[in-house]
């Protein structure tokens, strides 16, 4: 496998313009002859499906949720970045680009990130035209807030529901095309395999989650917009249904998987309350705009927060990173909180938590303003914990939130399997080793609205592939293998539930490959995961049958993939002998505990190629070349 990133030549700022001109076009009248399969209906999937349908392509869109509007993008709270410079505070495309590259700890592709910053401005225009009710000033113009890792205010938001509003915008655009008959929508349908014919992606195999029917769909290209793999940790802020199945099965069909070890731990989540916990809840990073993070100075301080005097509090982010303070990037803030807790200064049950305090903000702005800015978040906090954050500080703890790694794609967002495109969180492209807040929404929509619709045409126009044919033996083979796996899962009839395996895997990965990773912990995980996987295939109990809605069976297939994927995650983490962004290897740190990057040896993208069951995957290295940016030690001090 040769990984060609296909980055256009020329100066950074002109690459995308030049590439748009160089790409071949499909005649408008011919577009309707191409059928595109889109899997996933979140920001990336819905926007791509809608935009391609607008262009004239025939689109089929699949999602496992009961409606495309429920994709997990909906849960994003804080906002979306764009280099509009509406606040006149010195923002620019270049600054957004630089912040994102630096935020990603210099492990992202320069050209991709620059393009992302360029199209960010179009996204806001598009969303406003669709009726997304972004927050406004009294004068009627859009307002912004600041976010982690940036010193300008460039984040657009719609209360604490930005993801929801952006998704509804894309969903509405998608619905319009469904209504027009240009998109055929398949809700409650899960993709279980990619069909590759003569080296090109030509279709997928899906299971109807209501009837259990397994069927194949052919297309001229397949687009995966299936989100991240955060649920490999079992407990994460991801929705319950989020899974790695689509990208994992694509990986097994030849689509290299890049940088799986780059997982983002979000600093402001509600701490775990017990073993029953099914998911973790994020409190938007925007809270750090006005909230101050602190832990008691004294170890094991069990006093109520209001009884701890000011001089016995350690506002550790402000102390360690005075220039960014509470708005230090996510990886850094998370680690700082973990350190405080490791030192025994954590608060709440089990000592796994630090305070996020709004007392000063309420004093400065008044409770009403704080309520207006964050009301729904405070409400959410109260519902879960039963505590009133206007009166007592919130308790927060880091939790898995986003995964920067994903299917390897080139500049055209095409994976190493021609005709298979991967967009949004599912690909690895733009965030390097750490994503800045409010950049996920930006990337998902950039890919879906403004990048893929161009680049997919280039694929059609330049490849001149034969039309896909459902009668091809590859389709039959894929159908049979999916049916066999379903049957196998149902026939094991062991003793342990699917959830118990998922929970055990998650805990293992969190302990061994979470916020801090060591060679030893990773090796332990790599030894344990295959055992657990073997046990799963011997002893899992999947109830019910395949001819009805069967949530147990759905979960089993996803957990089976996580059990394989977890190994790749740990292997990647073991191989990357440096600390960068969300990947922190304890062996590689500065004397002051900060991450120690090794640009000389690890300035590359790790792309793993599947070699067959039981075989160690093959590592390909795509070197990261920086033409514009000077790689520096990331400092937010």
């Amino acid at each position: 496998m040769i990984l060609d990133s296909k980055i256009p030549s020329g100066p950074l700022a002109q690459k995308w313009e030049k590439h748009k001109f160089d790409m071949k076009l499909v005649n408008p009248a011919n577009k309707r002859k191409f059928e595109v399969i889109v899997v996933g209906s979140g920001l990336a999937g819905a926007s791509a499906a809608a935009t391609m349908a607008e262009l004239g392509y025939q689109v089929k869109c699949f999602c496992f949720q009961d409606s495309p509007r429920r994709a997990h993008s909906i849960a994003a709270q804080g906002g979306i970045n764009a280099a509009k410079n509406y606040q006149n505070d010195g923002d620019s495309v270049h600054r957004l680009f630089y912040d994102t590259i630096k935020g990603g700890d210099f492990r992202a592709r320069e050209a991709n990130v620059y393009r992302l910053a360029q199209v960010s401005v179009n996204i806001i225009d598009q969303c406003v035209a669709q009726g997304v009710p972004f927050a406004r000033e009294y004068g009627g113009l859009l307002t912004n807030r600041s976010f982690g890792g940036a010193q300008v205010s460039r984040t657009f938001y719609a209360r604490g529901q930005t993801g929801q509003q952006l998704l509804l915008g894309a969903y509405q655009a998608l619905s319009r095309q469904i209504g027009n008959g240009n998109v055929k929508m398949y809700p409650r349908t899960e993709m279980l395999d990619v069909v590759v014919v003569d080296g090109h992606a030509k279709g997928i195999v899906v299971r109807d989650l209501v009837t259990g029917e397994i069927s194949a769909h052919a297309g001229d290209a397949v687009v995966l917009a299936t989100g991240g793999y955060g649920n490999v940790f079992y407990l994460s802020t991801n929705a319950r249904g989020c899974n790695v199945t689509a990208t994992w099965r694509a990986y097994k069909k030849g689509a290299a998987f890049a940088n799986p070890c780059y997982t983002q731990i979000h600093p402001t989540c509600i701490p775990v309350s017990g073993d029953h916990q099914s998911k973790l809840t994020l409190m938007s990073e925007s809270l750090r705009n006005d909230g101050r993070v602190w832990a008691p100075k004294k170890k094991g301080d069990t006093r109520r927060p209001d009884q701890i005097p000011e001089d016995e509090r350690d506002y550790f982010l402000e102390r360690k990173y005075p220039s960014f303070g509470n708005l230090a990037p996510r990886d850094i803030s998370s680690r700082a909180a973990k350190e405080a807790c490791d030192e025994g200064r954590g608060v709440g049950p089990g000592g796994l938590g630090v305070y996020l305090d709004f007392a000063d903000a309420i004093k400065r702005l008044g409770e009403e303003t704080v309520r207006e800015r964050y009301g729904n978040l405070f409400q959410m906090y109260e519902k879960i914990t039963g505590e009133d954050a206007y009166k007592t500080p919130m308790r927060i703890y880091p939790a898995v939130h986003y995964t920067m790694g994903g299917t390897w794609v080139d500049y055209n967002l095409m994976s190493s399997v021609p005709g298979l495109f991967v967009i949004g969180e599912a690909n690895f492209s733009d965030h390097g080793a750490n994503r800045l807040g409010a950049s996920a929404l930006m990337q998902g929509l950039a890919d879906g609205y403004f990048i893929l619709p161009y680049t997919i045409g280039n694929y059609f126009a330049s490849e001149k592939q034969p039309k896909p044919n459902l009668a091809h033996p590859e389709f039959k083979k894929a159908l049979e293998s999916v049916e066999a796996m379903t049957k196998r899962l149902l026939s094991i009839n062991g003793k342990r539930s699917v959830t118990s395996f998922h929970r055990e895997l998650g805990k293992l990965i969190w302990d061994k490959c979470g916020m801090a990773r060591t060679q030893q912990s990773l090796k332990e995980a790599l030894a344990r995961i295959p055992e657990l996987r073997a046990e799963f295939w011997k002893n899992v109990k999947v109830t019910g049958d395949n001819s009805n809605l069967n949530q147990d069976l759905e979960a089993a297939g996803r957990v089976a993939d996580f059990l394989e994927f977890g190994e790749l995650l740990c292997l990647d983490a073991l191989t990357r002998e440096e600390s960068c962004g969300g990947h922190f290897r304890v062996e590689h740190q500065q004397p002051d505990g900060e991450a120690k990057r090794d640009d000389e040896h690890f300035s590359f993208v790790s792309a793993w190629e599947y070699q067959g069951p039981g075989k160690t995957p093959l590592l390909h290295k795509e070197p990261l070349v920086y033409e514009e940016v000077h790689m520096s030690t990331r400092s937010y001090k």
Binding site: A50, E54, Q65, D66, S67, R70, H72, I74, A75, I124, D125, Q126, V128, A129, Q130, G131, P133, F134, A135, R136, G140, L141, L142, A158, Q161, G163, Q164, L168, Q172, A173, S175, I178, G179, V210, A239, R240, G241, S273, G274, H276, Q277, S278, L282, M380, K383, I384, G386, Y449, F450, S497, T499, S500, K541, T543, G544, N548, L549, N550, Q551, D552
Partner: protein
């Protein structure tokens, strides 16, 4: 805590369905309602029985997937709360809890507590959008929108499409859902261009789906997890009246 659950079980759309009683033991007050069901399901799986099928995804009250009628109230009766955000601390040891799916002609039951809410998607597909293609849109600040209008649009846009309004309404009416979308878009200058056709099409589709009519009882507003106001129904009626007088396709 130990509880008794009375749960609607129905194998598939064709099955008549029935209530079945299950004990729920060892429940912790900090659990969410859905986590309590997870625990019961783990018990069922251990016994080789099929777990209770219920919809859930984000489990933080925003995706709108979860949809349980708990003790006769959609989402369980805590104000502004989805059932995934309902915690067991609101129940007492020994309680008997009845759990049913949304019941409406427009929301056929697929299995147990899982219903098909495709009707809502079809209503949006009929007109719940602004017809702009990607690209070619003016600068986001080219058209100022008063904060009052923008905030009100956001109030309506907060709808998560869960369907609790239909479930709670004695007439199984979808007016609050449709009104939220109609009002959200009609409130903004970008959405005004298509306002008459939009409301015409959406109401037509709503009627086709077999939802009931609004008799202004206010149940929908009371159970709505996003507390969407009944005033939006008045706004939709106004839009509809306008469309009738203007005449539309």
């Amino acid at each position: 805590m130990n509880l008794t659950l009375r749960v609607w079980r129905q194998k598939n759309a064709g099955d008549p369905g029935r209530m079945v009683e299950y004990p729920a033991t060892g429940i912790i007050p900090d659990m969410s309602f859905l986590e309590m069901l997870d625990v019961v399901n783990e018990g069922l799986i251990a016994k080789g029985e099929e777990p209770i099928a219920f919809d859930s995804d984000c489990r933080e009250g925003i995706c709108g997937t979860c949809s349980l009628v708990i003790n006769g109230i959609a989402h369980g009766g805590q104000r502004g709360t989805t059932c995934c955000q309902l915690h067991m601390r609101f129940f007492k040891d020994g309680d008997v809890i009845t759990i049913e799916p949304w019941r409406a002609k427009g929301f056929p039951v697929l299995r147990d507590l899982v219903t098909d809410r495709g009707a809502f998607d079809r209503i949006v597909q009929s007109g719940g959008f602004i017809s702009v293609n990607t690209g070619g849109t003016p600068d986001a600040n080219a058209l100022p929108v008063s904060k009052v209008d923008s905030d009100r649009a956001m109030d309506a846009a907060a709808c998560i499409g869960c369907g609790a309004c239909v479930a709670a309404c004695k007439n199984a009416s979808a007016m609050l859902f449709v009104a939220a979308k109609v009002s959200h878009l009609a409130q903004l200058p970008q959405g005004k261009v298509e306002r008459t056709q939009r409301v015409t099409n959406m109401v037509k589709q709503m009627d086709v789906e077999g939802f009931g009519n609004c008799t202004v009882t206010g149940s929908c507003e009371a159970v709505c997890p996003k507390e969407i106001s009944l005033d939006f129904i008045a706004q939709m009626n106004r839009e509809y009246g306008r469309a009738i007088l203007k005449g539309t396709k």
